[in-house]
């Protein structure tokens, strides 16, 4: 029977035996199937059974439910804090049998890579941060720094001819000013958080107003320090920046593994 994979952990874990009910809760499927550890030497893959064709449906509601289940299995493990490190799978990785887990997932040269990753990520979690501008504030800043932009904007609204074009030109220049500001602010945020994180992965911003979209690898013992650093940033920047941080998460962004 096919197995949907959730993550790889070291084995054994104190207090857990394979096959014991409610070790890892339930995962994807309807009804949700129990998640269990498939052990091979000193590693284990967390998996639940799926009927062929059950994953990868185009039914959005089912997809949504299953993706949430996948995330929840992993988040539960991180929240419980009993397992030192877990390497999460991307959603939707399915193998045809338990034997395949030993052959294609946990065995051979892969075991070495998995152990190395598990060691590197031991005791650490991912914190995902997004910082966005408050638009009216940043526009005010841009105008304060480049007053000619406001004059241009105001001027264009009064004249009939070419008002549309000059608006666009003004807007384009404002956008460029915001872009420059973003780079500076992103740099400052990263500099402030670098001392409290093991690793950082900065993603691409989703919009003009997104200053930073980044993931931080933080040791569990250092989450407190990270929170305080965030609060300091918040205290300083709350009039102009909105901070949104989610975590602790399984270290998706720091796994970097194709088996």
């Amino acid at each position: 029977m096919s197995l949907h994979l959730y993550g790889v952990i070291r084995w054994p874990v104190a207090g857990l035996t394979p096959g014991a009910a409610a070790n890892f809760g339930t995962g994807i499927g309807s009804p949700p199937r129990p998640v269990d550890a498939i052990v091979h030497q000193d590693l284990a893959a967390l998996a639940s059974r799926v009927h062929p064709g059950e994953v990868g449906t185009s039914n959005v509601r089912v997809l949504r439910r299953d993706m949430k289940a996948h995330a929840d299995v992993l988040n539960r493990i991180v929240a419980a804090g009993k397992i030192g490190a877990i390497l999460p799978f991307q959603f939707g990785v399915v193998v045809p049998s338990e034997a395949a887990v030993a052959e294609r997932v946990l065995g051979g040269a892969r075991a070495r890579a998995l152990r190395e990753r598990l060691e590197r990520l031991e005791g650490a979690v991912e914190l995902k941060l997004r910082a966005t501008y408050l638009e009216d504030v940043v526009l005010r800043e841009v105008v304060a720094e480049q007053p000619q932009l406001a004059a241009a904007g105001a001027g264009s609204s009064r004249s009939r001819g070419g008002s549309y074009q000059s608006k666009i030109e003004t807007g384009r220049r404002v956008a460029a000013a915001i872009r420059a500001k973003r780079a500076l602010d992103a740099q400052r945020l990263l500099a402030a958080l670098k001392p409290v994180a093991r690793e950082i992965r900065a993603g691409r911003a989703g919009s003009d107003m997104t200053v930073l979209s980044a993931s931080f690898l933080v040791g569990r013992g250092a989450i407190d320090r990270f929170d305080r650093a965030l609060e300091q940033i918040h205290a300083r920047e709350r009039t102009r920046l909105k901070l949104d941080c989610v975590g602790p998460l399984p270290p998706f962004s720091f796994t970097d593994l194709t088996l």
Binding site: D72, N75, K82, R104, V174, S207, R220, C245, P248
Partner: protein
């Protein structure tokens, strides 16, 4: 240190029952995690600290790009085909650089100019007791701006800034959503459906204040009608705004602020 102890006392009031070495740390200690059934996912998003919130009970949107784009994959096994899902992660990173955005910036900057000037003139009036500043620009537009200013200053100057901020955030938020929806239509509305219609999941991460903005957001959309009416509308909207500058459009803003 005192502040932290106070925070700790606050959180203890929430009744955390799980015994765990992590629980000693007030920042990490979180809501009692009892759920074994992933279908029971209606927990409200809780805040572990002032800024950070736990992923359990949060919307799918938070982790969507992680579970679809990151994590282990196995080369030998082609990932099950998730209809249009691969596009989703690209969509989430689309940078919005469009005429609509430029128009919005230009108008935002223009509004700032008017308010800065009118605020300066009001101060002048108070200090010098003169009304000559009224005659400087088109009296109608400035007069209405100052009238709006008056009302808001009765309510408190800082509150006005919040309202402006909220309204503009609303426009930004709705524009961003508008783009996401447009993109979503291109992949069969998967984006909107997967994130639960956008509104709930997107806003779960924000302050409570964001939810309050939703009614305002819609008002803003209807009234201004400019930047986010689609491509053709964007052009037309921009033009008409220019023509009626100082007239129909600007008085709407003070009115909206007053209504709040």
């Amino acid at each position: 240190m005192v502040a932290q102890a106070e925070q700790q006392n606050e959180r203890q009031g929430q009744g955390h029952a799980v015994a765990d070495e992590l629980m000693a740390d007030p920042i990490v200690r979180r809501e009692p995690y009892v759920m074994q059934d992933p279908l029971m996912d209606d927990l409200p998003a809780r805040r572990d600290s002032q800024i950070r919130r736990a992923p359990q009970g949060s919307g799918l949107y938070d982790v969507l790009d992680l579970i679809l784009d990151k994590g282990i994959v196995i080369d030998a096994f082609v990932r099950v085909s998730l209809v249009g899902i691969e596009l989703l992660t690209v969509d989430l990173r689309v940078v919005i650089a469009s005429v609509d955005t430029y128009l919005r910036y230009a108008e935002g900057v223009e509004k700032l100019q008017v308010y800065e000037r009118s605020r300066a003139m009001k101060l002048q009036d108070m200090v010098k007791g003169s009304t000559k500043s009224m005659a400087k620009e088109g009296a109608k537009g400035i007069g209405e701006a100052i009238t709006g200013q008056d009302d808001d200053e009765d309510e408190g100057g800082s509150k006005k800034n919040d309202e402006e901020g909220e309204e503009n955030e609303g426009v930004v938020g709705s524009l961003a959503k508008g783009v996401r929806n447009v993109v979503a239509r291109g992949v069969g509305s998967l984006v909107g459906s997967l994130t639960g219609g956008g509104d709930e999941d997107d806003d779960e991460g924000g302050d409570g204040g964001e939810r309050k903005q939703q009614p305002q957001r819609r008002r803003t959309q209807r009234a201004s009608g400019g930047a986010h009416n689609g491509r053709g509308g964007g052009g037309g909207g921009g033009r008409s705004t220019g023509r009626t500058a100082g007239g129909a459009r600007r008085p709407n803003r003070p009115t909206r602020a007053r209504r709040k």
